[in-house]
């Protein structure tokens, strides 16, 4: 504006006339939603988070696929782990965006103008909420190709996408609402982010506990009441352990109840009371302390429960009666030279050389690294079925068994079987019989593109980067950059 030039009388008249004409049928929550979406996606905040996720999921998928190449991990487990990563990062994004939504506006002094409009507080919160949960569908959309490649044609792909989308919606709806609750009640951005992240970590940490800690009384209780653990457990059992939804439905209650409570609290209680200055509309001090105390107690009790389970006493006694029937075990292979990832198939034959019927028999496979400095072998990783149970064999009768071995690591190994006559009573033991060994020599084999995942691992971040560049270009095109601080 030059000097103190004011609008002309014509301009003023025109403004007054224009002011009279109005009328929009668009609800204001939609207007707020539009602005928030532009801020998140055109402003770049969500895109940056998505790019970080894309790089992360690319790396994780590649590592998992590398293991898959060696058959270390079955497809359904890789799919589950990738989905778990997607959920963890998606929820983290949801809670960060939710926690910043109102306290951030407060700090940037933009909330007052919003509260001064005639729009109801609930509509403002609703518009912001819907925008805040938008990263989850995008996260899932990015994850689906990785899941497809990692599934490698396994039937787990369909259920993984279905349950992933559903559980993600449920959890991101709940955690975003929780983040927004803290944002409504906090006067500073740092407080709302801090509280939200601590609660998220408290929910997420038990998932990382060792298996024994999760199977204690409190561990199992936490698994049921902690929405994040419940969903994690539900997905694992459905996708990895082929359990049915009917069997696992109890684990859905916790996330559903948590979501219902925080959503009700957000839209029925907190949103209509949204204030410029923040702060809780009730005596929070006692509540906060007691909640923190309850969380700490639950955590401590969970630890105690699991450690009690760990400390279960081990007892044993030496018995005089040892069962040693005349049995024979043979193997059809003496040695195998393979490369990592190859499978070795062999057969064993068990013969009852006695004149009487044998007791039931148990046959177990074991693998030993012959190199004293080589990697420790976990036989579970090498074979899906390491133990076979045989019925009683008649006098002179033989039985054949088929075995499969997946070679995971390079090195020199001895594979052998142990035949154990079933003792039949608690006070009786038996003498196991060892088979001849198979000398397995495994050479290292590395693929640069395990499971065909490499194009996705590299392509994902590249596509997101290209999208960011496109958004930046589009935005620049519609904006006059001008000279900074040009006061005209």
């Amino acid at each position: 504006m030059n000097d103190t030039t004011l609008p002309s009388a014509k301009q003023t008249e025109m403004l007054s006339k224009r002011a009279a004409s109005s009328g929009s049928t668009v609800p204001t929550w939609w207007v707020v939603f539009g602005r928030e979406m532009a801020d998140l996606w055109l402003g770049g905040k969500a895109l940056v988070l998505i790019l970080i996720y894309c790089i992360l999921v690319g790396v994780i998928s590649y590592v998992l696929a590398s293991n898959s190449e060696l058959d270390l991990m079955p497809a359904n487990e890789m799919v589950f782990l990738t989905l778990q990563t997607a959920l963890s990062v998606g929820l983290l994004m949801a809670i960060i965006i939710g926690a910043d939504s109102l306290s951030g506006e407060r700090e940037r002094a933009t909330l007052e103008a919003l509260l001064l409009t005639p729009t109801s507080r609930v509509q403002i919160v609703l518009g912001k909420y819907l925008a805040a949960i938008s990263p989850w569908p995008v996260t899932m959309l990015i994850t689906v190709p990785y899941l497809r490649v990692l599934a490698g044609g396994d039937v787990v792909f369909g259920p993984a996408v279905f349950w992933g989308v559903l559980m993600g919606i449920l959890l991101s709806a709940a955690f975003t609402a929780f983040g927004m609750l803290t944002s409504i009640w906090s006067s500073s951005n740092r407080t709302s982010l801090g509280i939200s992240l601590v609660v998220y970590l408290l929910c997420a940490l038990p998932v990382q506990f060792p298996g024994t800690a999760q199977t204690g009384v409190m561990g199992r209780w936490l698994k049921t009441v902690n929405p994040l653990e419940s969903v994690d457990h539900f997905l694992e059992k459905i996708l990895v352990n082929n359990r049915t939804v009917a069997e696992m439905q109890n684990f859905l209650w916790s996330p559903i109840i948590f979501a219902a409570i925080v959503l009700l609290l957000l839209f029925v209680y907190a949103a209509p009371r949204l204030r410029l200055d923040g702060g809780v509309p009730f005596n929070w001090r006692f509540g906060k302390q007691s909640q923190a105390l309850a969380l700490m107690l639950a955590l401590g009790a969970g630890m105690w429960g699991s450690s009690a389970a760990l400390a279960a006493p081990m007892t044993g006694e030496r018995h005089q009666e040892i069962l040693a029937p005349p049995l024979e075990i043979t193997i059809d292979t003496t040695h195998a030279m393979v490369k990592t990832g190859d499978k070795v198939f062999f057969e064993t034959t068990v013969t009852n050389q006695d004149s009487a019927e044998s007791v039931p028999l148990i046959l177990a496979m074991n693998i030993i690294n012959l190199d004293s400095e080589g990697d420790v072998v976990d036989p579970e990783d090498w074979s899906p079925e390491r133990t076979q149970y045989l019925e009683s064999l008649g006098a002179g009768e033989s039985a054949k068994q088929e075995w499969e071995l997946s070679t995971i690591l390079a090195g020199d190994y001895m594979v052998y079987l142990v035949l154990i006559p079933a003792p039949g009573a608690a006070e009786i033991s038996s003498q196991p019989l060892t088979s001849p060994g198979i000398h397995v020599t495994v050479e290292r084999f590395v693929s640069a593109n395990p499971g065909g995942i490499l194009p996705y691992a590299i392509g994902g971040p590249v596509v997101v980067l290209a999208a960011m560049a496109g958004v930046y270009w589009f935005r620049r095109r519609g904006v006059d950059m001008g000279d900074e601080n040009d006061d005209m």
């Binding site: 004011l6 001064l116 005639p118 006059d480």
Partner: protein, 334 residues
């Protein structure tokens, strides 16, 4: 109490803003006590008071951000019991003015226009006209993050008008602006009131600014009104037996000497750092009439002229708003 006045077309106007016994307490502490005033359309009401006087609380109540503990107010006849309806009728330029820096000015005004129920197209074209009115049309598509403070204040004024309000609250609009920017902003404030016939509440610490543009004034201290009325009325209540004279710096000592010697002059003291302004206190006893006051002032001038002292300024009309403000707030403090 500010009563009905005459509108631009000469007809008696109904007050557009009426505050009745507004009271706000935080626990045992009263932040605002029985605030009552009225504002006419087209008038500018200055809201004054030292820090902590209750100005911000009053503005936040009148803009529906805070609820009063008791009392009511009306905007265009709408009671404060209907805050959402009130918000349709008011515009606000808050003291802590924030904008989404990733938005352009026109996007910002379009958004706020839509929030007041305009269609997107209508909000955008009206926003453009407002930007023209505040002189920002050439930077309509610039990111607000690239705006200077003055430009943001002007954009804030445009934003406060997107709903065609009947009352607008400007809270410290010139804070942090250079003198030219201040003048431009004040001109815009006057344009909003005079040309758009909007009632304006102007909150400011800059007393000459209030004196220059306001019609009416309310002075608050400790949450209470200590003076209100037209600017002239409030100044009238100030100290009258005071004259200010500005003389050349080298003549200050001589001027003090010759003026001090005059009858009915009580005290002569320099009032600025350079000492070229002299504050002359006249006698204030019962016999010292208005006519005598005029005579003494004439004597002062004559004496200075006879003493060959260059008189640069002579303020013979009692106090300024600034004097009244200090006088009243100090009296209250005592």
């Amino acid at each position: 109490m500010i009563e009905q006045s005459t509108s631009l077309n000469g007809a008696a106007a109904e007050p557009i803003l009426v505050a009745e016994q507004l009271h706000k307490a935080y626990g045992p502490r009263a932040a605002l006590r029985n605030l009552s005033f009225t504002l006419q359309p087209g008038h500018i009401l200055g809201f004054l008071g030292p820090n902590g006087a209750g100005k911000t609380t009053a503005i936040r109540i009148l803009t529906t951000i805070l609820e009063p503990t008791s009392g009511q107010f009306y905007v265009g006849g709408i009671s404060s019991d209907h805050p959402r309806e009130i918000r349709r009728k008011i515009g606000v330029l808050p003291e802590s003015l924030g904008f989404a820096k990733q938005m352009t000015a026109i996007e910002c005004l379009t958004f706020f226009g839509q929030m007041y129920g305009r269609s997107k197209a209508d909000a955008k074209s009206y926003g453009m006209e407002l930007l023209k009115a505040v002189g920002l049309e050439k930077r309509a598509k610039s990111l607000i993050g690239s705006y200077s403070r003055g430009m943001r204040q002007r954009l804030g004024i445009a934003r406060s008008l997107v709903n065609d309000p009947v009352v607008v609250f400007f809270d410290e609009p010139t804070l942090g602006l250079d003198p030219r920017g201040q003048q431009e902003l004040l001109s815009l404030v006057q344009w909003v009131a005079r040309e758009r016939n909007v009632g304006v509440v102007l909150c400011s610490h800059d007393l000459p600014e209030i004196e220059e543009v306001c019609d009416d004034v309310v002075i608050l201290r400790n949450g209470r009104i200590i003076a209100q009325g037209t600017v002239g009325e409030v100044i009238e209540r100030g100290q009258h037996n005071v004259v200010r004279v500005q003389v050349a710096e080298q003549s200050v000592a001589t001027a003090r000497q010759v003026i001090q010697a005059l009858p009915n002059v009580v005290k002569v003291t320099p009032i600025t750092a350079t000492g070229d302004w002299l504050l002359i206190e006249l006698a204030s006893s019962g016999e010292f009439t208005k006519n005598m006051e005029k005579e003494v002032k004439a004597q002062i001038l004559n004496t200075l002229v006879r003493a060959d002292i260059a008189v640069l300024s002579f303020e013979s009309e009692g106090g300024r708003l600034q004097d009244v403000f200090f006088q009243l707030t100090e009296e209250e403090a005592e």
